[in-house]
């Protein structure tokens, strides 16, 4: 009885937290002052946003920089809501048949060292990202394949010229890694300077950092959003171990962790601290996949791949697995909350998405028998990270056991895991994921193409490529939606070249005195901290 009462109280507390998390920021007037301490669940690599790909860099460094445009921090859940950061007014619509974007820059913006921002800085930054000089790596060069040039007709105008119109340009531009650097710094110090030095136009100026330990920033008085930031400063403390991050929030050494905790951690915090903890939750723009390697004889047969997807009880997993892991939402190739994503009625038509799991498993067994693979043994390569890889991996082993597949899970640290995935390719099925920052549906869905650089299924499917080519060119929303369904059916059902398990689910429990922060569908977004204030 007592246990049940405790659970009810916990559920009530979580519910309270969720409600306050959603509503409190709207109702209250921001207060200025205070230092925000937060923990970062990763070691902090170099400070160069153009080279790095991890949230371990974004969380501590993003507050020092601005972007040309950004996801609206007041509405980060909306995958189509962007606002100007360094540009002025509304985000521009394209001209020249969708091939030219002209941005007017804010006037009076200065870098932290006092250098005025001009269009030359934007051009130097974007050229470094899109057209890096020889010997300079750029992690997001591939995002801007459509861009032919960046022009600066005057000091406060920037023009992007595209080869073809594409809906993926604006989301790519809003990617939080596209820090705007001063041309002067690039010219004087070279392209490596930003790896360990900071000079941006963001809401906070760099105070100090201790490699592997923390990064500290203080309020920038000249910030271009008037009245912000509200905080006097912040300290980002690296704490790779989850137990430390959890205890840090419990012991108030840190107020928040922006990446997210598993459900049990949320429950523990709420149980220990009650209404001193607020919880926000959201679908997460990360999807966990099981990728069948079509270079392997067994996986070259689409009946085997279909059997594997049919054997996975996604709806059951969503219900039970979500209690212990950071996965929850059943979805197709599109981020589940996006207008182009499949509805439940559309999803259940795909193989492996039906609600009658027994019927699906019977069909899976029949397909395996037809393929002569009734005693199929699968070497499943997985990444040595608990959440969600190992938890979901273990669940998959059990799911496939139910259709008679004997799965051996091979767990390796990230380095050897990627070597297996990308170079050795000696796996039958591998855990894989697609985890992006800004929701850029047309770009994100390339993950399922055999030709994509981050697809590791080792196959060619000209039909799927042809559907994607039409998607890229399609301007009509209804037709686009139809094409996306066609693409999804081809990739996940007819060919089963990719097997989606579940989409991730983001859970952020944090100290209730942190206000103004709204959960985004990605742990990379809305991390500039200019909207956050403390109610202490």
């Amino acid at each position: 009885m007592l246990k049940q009462t405790g659970r009810l109280a916990l559920a009530a507390a979580v519910g309270f937290g969720l409600m306050t998390g959603a509503g409190a920021a709207k109702a209250e007037t921001p207060k200025s002052g205070g230092i925000l301490n937060f923990v970062v669940g990763s070691n902090i690599p170099s400070f160069d946003g153009h080279q790095e790909t991890t949230f371990g860099m974004i969380h501590p460094i993003r507050p020092f920089y601005s972007l040309l445009i950004r996801v609206n921090p007041q509405n980060p859940s909306d995958p189509t809501d962007f606002e100007c950061d360094l540009c002025e007014g509304a985000v521009p619509t394209p001209t020249n048949d969708g091939k030219t974007y002209t941005f007017k820059l804010r006037k009076g913006v200065k870098f932290h060292d006092g250098t005025p921002l001009t269009s030359a800085d934007i051009k130097a930054t974007m050229d470094k990202i899109i057209f890096p000089p020889e010997g300079v790596p750029s992690a997001r060069k591939a995002f801007f394949r459509a861009v032919t040039s960046v022009d600066t007709p005057d000091d406060h105008t920037v023009v992007f010229n595209l080869k073809f119109p594409t809906a993926s340009f604006i989301p790519a531009l809003a990617t939080p890694f596209n820090f705007v650097y001063a041309k002067k710094d690039l010219d004087e110090h070279g392209y490596e300077w930003h790896k360990s030095n900071v000079n941006g136009t963001g809401p906070f100026t760099f105070v100090q950092s201790q490699p592997g330990a923390f990064v500290e920033g203080k309020k920038y008085a000249g910030y271009h959003f008037e009245g912000r930031p509200y905080l006097d400063g912040f300290k980002a403390i690296a704490a790779p171990k989850m137990a430390v991050r959890l205890q840090a929030i419990r012991g108030d050494r840190a107020a928040i962790e922006f990446r997210g905790f598993p459900p049990k951690a949320r429950d523990d915090l709420v149980k220990a601290l009650g209404d001193k903890i607020t919880v926000q939750e959201s679908d997460w723009n990360c999807v966990l996949l099981a990728t069948p390697n079509q270079q392997r004889e067994s996986m070259a047969d689409k009946r085997v791949r279909q059997a594997l997807t049919l054997g996975v009880d996604r709806w059951g997993g969503s219900k039970y697995l979500s209690q212990i892991a950071i996965v929850k939402t059943v979805g197709g190739v599109m981020f589940p909350s996006h207008p182009l994503a499949a509805t439940k009625e559309e999803l259940v038509k795909l193989k492996g998405y039906g609600e009658d799991i027994e019927a699906a498993r019977a069909e899976a067994k029949k397909l395996l028998a037809d393929a002569g693979q009734s005693d199929l043994k699968v070497d499943f390569s997985n990444r040595g990270v608990d959440q969600p890889y190992k938890v979901v991996g273990t669940w998959l082993v059990d799911q496939w056991r139910k259709i008679g597949v004997d799965t051996a899970q091979r767990v390796q640290p990230s380095g050897p895991f990627y070597d297996t995935l990308r170079k050795k390719k000696d796996f039958d099925v591998s855990a894989d994921f697609n985890c992006q920052s800004v929701i850029n549906p047309i770009a994100d869905m390339t993950k399922f193409l055999g030709s994509a650089g981050n697809n590791y299924a080792n196959f060619e499917d000209p039909k799927l490529e042809a559907i994607y080519a039409k998607i890229e060119q399609e301007g009509d929303a209804a037709k686009l939606r139809e094409l996306v369904r066609e693409y999804e059916t081809r990739a996940l059902s007819e060919e089963a070249s990719g097997i989606i398990t579940l989409w991730w689910y983001k859970i952020n429990p944090y100290r209730s005195y942190v206000k103004g922060w709204k959960i985004a569908p990605s742990h990379y977004l809305a991390q500039h901290l200019d909207q956050i204030w403390l109610d202490k």
Binding site: N43, S46, T53, E134, S138, A142, P211, R253, G415, P416
Partner: protein, 323 residues
């Protein structure tokens, strides 16, 4: 004695070269590299060309023997280069952590010595009494309990106890400040890992002190000392304990060297930015330059510690230096 010291120093050089060869080639056996991890490790779509540019930039696409020569020259000229992961100079990165690890190692050693030598001596002197049993139980528990688990229990205990006492849960600080900058913050952070590791460390040393002292107490010269009427305190302190310290010094020295780079899990539990944590991170990140430098540093610490132990032997036991 000086000949003995020179001989021991000369032996260090081949040890270091051997360790260098091992670490360099073993690191290259681990599949994957830092560029692949940096660019593809978050699932991002990235051109292979960009990964190759990164490899060229870091020099890991050069012939392996050229890389090895660079590394060895760097080691003997104390130029370890830059971390492949952060881009910071390795000397700077290691220096930061060395300070913290050294302080924890010293504090844990002090905790261990304060506990181990008196308890070990009491246990030996009062052999087979309840005191002896109590000390042995305490020390066996210290060996059996992993220090990281003890660390977790300490943090949880502090959170629960302070919440119960004051209504506000308290845990040790999670970011380091040097002792000369903020002594209260520093001690309140480092005392707990020092106790957690010092307890295990003391358990080993207590048992060693006990057995060594028991052996010495049965020697003829101890019987002679008692027979000539010396008080028991002098017999124990001057004649028995000093001679029983040889194996204890060895244990303390080896444990101290281990603490400098081996507190991998304990450092993570207390979020200490020490050498152990850096070690794990650099291996995980395939940061060859950093891992190589750290291994060489730890080998150097072990070699120097062993050298100091040998000098202590010579000081404690004249037979060694005269031979």
């Amino acid at each position: 004695m000086s000949k003995y010291i020179l001989k021991r120093i000369a032996l260090m050089i081949p040890t270091l070269i051997g360790a260098g060869i091992l670490v360099f080639f073993l690191m290259r056996l681990i599949p994957g590299d830092v560029c692949e991890l940096r660019f593809a490790g978050t699932g991002l779509y990235v051109d292979q060309e960009q990964i190759d540019v990164c490899r060229t930039q870091l020099g890991i696409d050069r012939p392996i023997f050229i890389q090895f020569a660079d590394f060895m020259i760097g080691f003997f000229t104390f130029d370890f280069g830059e971390s492949m992961w952060t881009g910071n100079p390795i000397i700077e990165e290691v220096g930061l952590r060395f300070e913290l690890s050294l302080q924890v190692a010293i504090m844990a050693t002090i905790v261990a010595i304060i506990i181990a030598i008196p308890l070990g001596a009491i246990s030996a002197i009062y052999q087979d009494t309840w005191l002896d049993y109590a000390v042995r139980t305490f020390s066996i528990a210290g060996i059996a309990i992993p220090s990281f688990w003890f660390g977790i229990m300490i943090i949880l205990g502090l959170l629960i106890f302070t919440n119960w006492m004051t209504g506000v849960p308290w845990m040790p600080p999670i970011e380091y400040r040097p002792i000369w900058v903020d002594p209260v913050h520093n001690i309140s952070q480092l005392i707990w890992p020092a106790v957690a590791t010092g307890y295990r460390y003391s358990a080993v040393a207590t048992r060693m002190t006990r057995s060594a002292l028991l052996e010495v107490l049965r020697e003829d010269y101890i019987r002679t000392a008692r027979a000539k009427g010396l008080v028991e305190k002098i017999v124990i302190n001057r004649h028995a304990l000093k001679n029983a310290m040889l194996p204890v010094v060895t244990i303390i020295g080896i444990e101290f060297a281990f603490l400098m780079g081996g507190l991998v899990v304990t450092e993570q539990v207390f979020n200490l930015n020490g050498l152990g944590k850096l070690f794990v991170e650099s291996v995980n990140n395939h940061d060859y330059a950093m891992t190589q430098a750290l291994v060489m540093l730890v080998v150097l610490i072990f070699v120097v510690t062993n050298f100091v132990i040998d000098l202590c032997y010579a000081w404690l036991d004249p037979r060694i230096r005269y031979s």
